[in-house]
Symmetry: C2
Subunit: 430 residues, 2 copies
Amino acid sequence: MSLRLNSSDPDFAAQFDRLVNARRDGDADVRRDVSAIIDAVRARGDAALEEYTTRFDDHSLSSKGWQIDAAEMQAAFGGLDAELREALELAASRIRSYHEAQLPQDRDYTDETGVRLGARWSAVDAAGLYVPGGRAAYPSSLLMNAIPAKVAGVQRLVVVTPTPKSEVNPLVLAAAHLAGVDEVWRIGGAQAIAALAYGTDKISPVDVVTGPGNAWVAEAKRQLYGVVGIDMVAGPSEIVVVADGDNDPNWIAADLLSQAEHDPTSQSILFTDDAAFANHVEDCLNVLVGKLATHKVARESWDSNGAIITVGSLDEAMPLVNRLAAEHLELAVSDPDALFAKVRHAGSVFLGRHTPEAIGDYVAGPNHVLPTGRRARFSSGLSVLDFMKRTSFIGLDESSLGKLGPATAALAHAEGLPAHALSVEKRLVK
Amino acid sequence: MSLRLNSSDPDFAAQFDRLVNARRDGDADVRRDVSAIIDAVRARGDAALEEYTTRFDDHSLSSKGWQIDAAEMQAAFGGLDAELREALELAASRIRSYHEAQLPQDRDYTDETGVRLGARWSAVDAAGLYVPGGRAAYPSSLLMNAIPAKVAGVQRLVVVTPTPKSEVNPLVLAAAHLAGVDEVWRIGGAQAIAALAYGTDKISPVDVVTGPGNAWVAEAKRQLYGVVGIDMVAGPSEIVVVADGDNDPNWIAADLLSQAEHDPTSQSILFTDDAAFANHVEDCLNVLVGKLATHKVARESWDSNGAIITVGSLDEAMPLVNRLAAEHLELAVSDPDALFAKVRHAGSVFLGRHTPEAIGDYVAGPNHVLPTGRRARFSSGLSVLDFMKRTSFIGLDESSLGKLGPATAALAHAEGLPAHALSVEKRLVK
């Protein structure tokens, strides 16, 4: 049974606080395990990778192979049926266009003091993408991670993916071919992240590691943050739907279930100003969920983490929506812009009645790798910027140094840094 | 005695590898201590802050006060001598201008399929800045952290700073007044970072924490990454100078020392194609260092971590410079643009003979918070983007959903996510 709240309940504030602050992350203490795995890969390189892969994935790297080669990826792509190939191509093309428009502008100008200033963006040399094995191996995730890297200009794009019992997901290989991935290694878990960060004899290190993974993968990324760049730490996924009573309750029920079916820890929350509509949505949901092949997961997620919150008006919902700072936010109303103007924190917003969140998962163009667990308060979805870095630059001549030098020397002396002052003063006195 | 290498030495490659991979970070195992401090602040809040502050800073929060109020900051600013006040104002004004030009553009457009797409940037609600106590308390650092946050639009800007024996640095308070800091709390160390991340009864939590600190502060930021946003993990500072023989060796010697005087773990490296010039620089450095109030630190840094590398040509130096991916890079030549075109990885570049690095520390405008320890391979200096986040948005109508819906449903079915498909199919069939 999902949670039902009404903003006019006397204890609503306390109940909503509990909803906002509830932790859905698994609490397993994986820190120590991950730390040991990282140390082993750093110390023993490929030998450690072989041992962990045999143990965890039941795959022998030395006898069954370390890499999946380009021909195998191409064959997987060639083997797709036409509808699926065209769908993947449409997705790739739209993701590429959206991310190309994200490419940042360099700056190079001389200000009124005669100081040349600027910033130059460039891609990292190499990026590593984690692709989970099993249920969570999504070709769409591969596209969403690989295409921004390629658009950024990354020259070497490396995929690591566990292949339990040597099996691989052909859809993922097809997507890797389409996205232009350069290397695919049959390794997974924390050991794969460690190999990407430090490198081994076989695998050259990369500069940035992105992509979803289980708790061990996430913890390895967290521990190696600073050795390599990473995308934001990801937790369980969530959707908030703000809907008035004029929606088809079946549509909204399907939207809530589309989040719930991901994982038992996923969360779907509906805000509505119409108590009768809230009941209709729940009734529809209870019918629809039974028909899903994913019904066990969806049911468990909805019962454990789902919520329907009735509010006096949708405007009144918006401060609550901002506190949740959800990964996905649907505004299923006729005039979504009026509500969107009040959104301060959200990963991605889906405007109007005809924009189900699933469109953003696949073909719309914006990235589906988005901040979870209220992290939209301070972080953004994956973009080309995650695969680039900015070098600032400064150029002075004798004249402009004459103008900025004395203030610099005064501040350096005040901070107790005489060599800083000296480096300027030597150039001022001729 | 600093290191001397020549690129024509037979074992140069191995020697340079050692230089690139040397770790200068302190190896103290602070992880466990920091973890315990974070847990204590999370569990016991202000009481834990009081205990740690009494123990580590010899300052009693309950009797001597928790905060420094606005009047005290204003008084510090008013008490500055005119030269210093004007220097701080010049710095603040130039930093503000440079960072205002960094503000990102929103996007909102409808593509040829009739899909509305875009991205909207907004500031985080609150940011916390760590300001070290003692030797490393620099007013310039306060400006470099606070001004980008204010330019980004952050409404609540909180400084935490340890005040050992209740003493405060009036220059830092003056800078806080100038930058418009909203709150200053007399707490430091890992406990201050934990308080900013989780909040206590007295201190409301923030969304992003930036600013330099010792190993405990850096480790606390690392451990709390994901609970809050942080700037890049920072290590010891470094400069690489690429200089031909036409430079005044005293200028270059002062530049190398300006990095060395920061800390014994700092690193200064000179590349030159002129062996005689290399000797002149070292001679000048040995004279200059003795005159510095900071000579002990500068001497220790130069002897332990300094290096002069003679190369056949400056062009030949550039791949080596890129491997070092230094925080600061001076190109002290007549035509710096030719070399700059070959720079792939550097935090900030100082162009030409009249641009000592110290100019960038104070008044040039670009941020002096820059990636250290080879992290310029994948990260950038502090900017307004560190205090902002991007919300993407998608809007479809019946017509555009008709065009993108079938591909979405096909991919959702292929990924085994039927509710995703259903959320689209329900809207397609009328």
